[in-house]
Amino acid sequence: MFLVLTVIGAISGGILAGVFHVADPLIQANREKELKEAIFVVLPEAKDYKVMEKEIDKEKATIYQGIDANSKPVGIAFIADGGGFQGNIRIMVGLSIDYLKLKGIRILEQNETPGLGNRIKEPAFEDQFKGLEIRPKIEYIKYRKPEKPNQITAITGATISSDAVVKNVNNAVSRVLKVFPQEEVVK
């Protein structure tokens, strides 16, 4: 009785291991590609990137250093993760080489309200973050055009989602700034 189950289990396990062996490289390649695309969007001059594993506040953090065709660093990119209005928002953030401005953001994952909150993934919203100053921190402003170089305009009717993006980016930036620029840039 259990013999049959064990045989079925063993065969299933074998098939799965085999399929995994074939599929996993493809799955990893897909992930790589997605990551690369996101990094190149937020660091437009980058042609390649280096991965740096750092420890910030006792947690592991992965920072991507974008490099151009001559292997010179053009900025760093990292992921900002945090709650939004309806679930998690995942953002790729690009920081300039002088650590004073954002080079851009790209919303990777979000579950905000369609037509309102999920407009944070539209270019009109994301583009506001290009060249945005990060000190003292990023702010959002409602109904008007930004008045200071560290402000963006929130989406009308989607204040919470816009605020969530701003908060998450600020958090991630302040964490990253704990190890950069004091750290030597990896050659």
């Binding site: 396990g13 799965l16 709650g83 209005f85 919470i160 908060k167």
Partner: protein, 192 residues
């Protein structure tokens, strides 16, 4: 603090039934009487909390340690099926009264999307052990809440004049839609 957030999120804001459509089969099938709904809800919450407690170690100490992530689904579903079987045997032996009340629902819980779903979400969201258990309990509580609300409405509905084509599953779904809309009001309860 985070634990309370996880609980409120799982039971209200991201209610498994009304936001993620998990647990619909029993939600449609067993929600006609409040007593049944309550029993099913409690039994399911019990199983879900145990499931979190059992599948998390399986994931962390077996699948991840030995680098066999592709066995996740097979391992989880076997764990859930075994768990339900054990719970059923235990209840039948230890408390025939409880078994009479909710024993018949137990086998159904194995195929309840909410149970497997909670194990999958727990992995996706990277909860630690305590967080996972709270999550299991919270999602079960949310499920029970949805069941109770639906059964309350359906009991009232028996006195209403529902058109023939809508009777049964159809009107239940439409009501569920309105409940889902209502529950959307919870979104934004927790900021950030």
């Amino acid at each position: 603090m985070k634990l309370i957030l996880i609980f409120i999120s799982a039971s209200l804001i991201n209610n498994f039934v009304l936001t993620y459509f998990l647990g619909i089969c029993p939600f449609l099938g067993v929600s006609n009487k409040t007593e049944n709904a309550l029993n099913m809800g409690l039994a399911t919450t019990f199983v879900m909390t145990l499931t979190a407690a059992v599948t998390w170690p399986i994931y962390t100490y077996l699948l991840v340690k030995f680098n066999i992530p592709f066995l996740e689904y097979v391992a989880f579903i076997i764990a859930i099926a075994a768990l339900v079987q054990l719970v059923e045997m235990y209840i039948r032996k230890s408390s025939p009264a409880v078994y009479r009340a909710m024993g018949i629902y137990l086998p159904l819980i194995t195929t309840n999307c909410a149970v497997l779903g909670l194990a999958l979400f727990m992995v996706l969201r990277d909860y630690n052990y305590i967080e996972s258990i709270i999550f299991g309990f919270g999602t079960g509580a949310g499920f029970t809440l949805a069941m109770l609300m639906m059964s309350g409405i359906r009991e009232e509905l028996e006195f209403a004049d529902v058109p023939k084509v809508f009777q049964g599953v159809s009107i239940t779904l439409i009501i569920a839609g309105m409940m889902a809309l209502a529950f959307m009001g919870f979104a934004g309860l927790i900021r950030g």
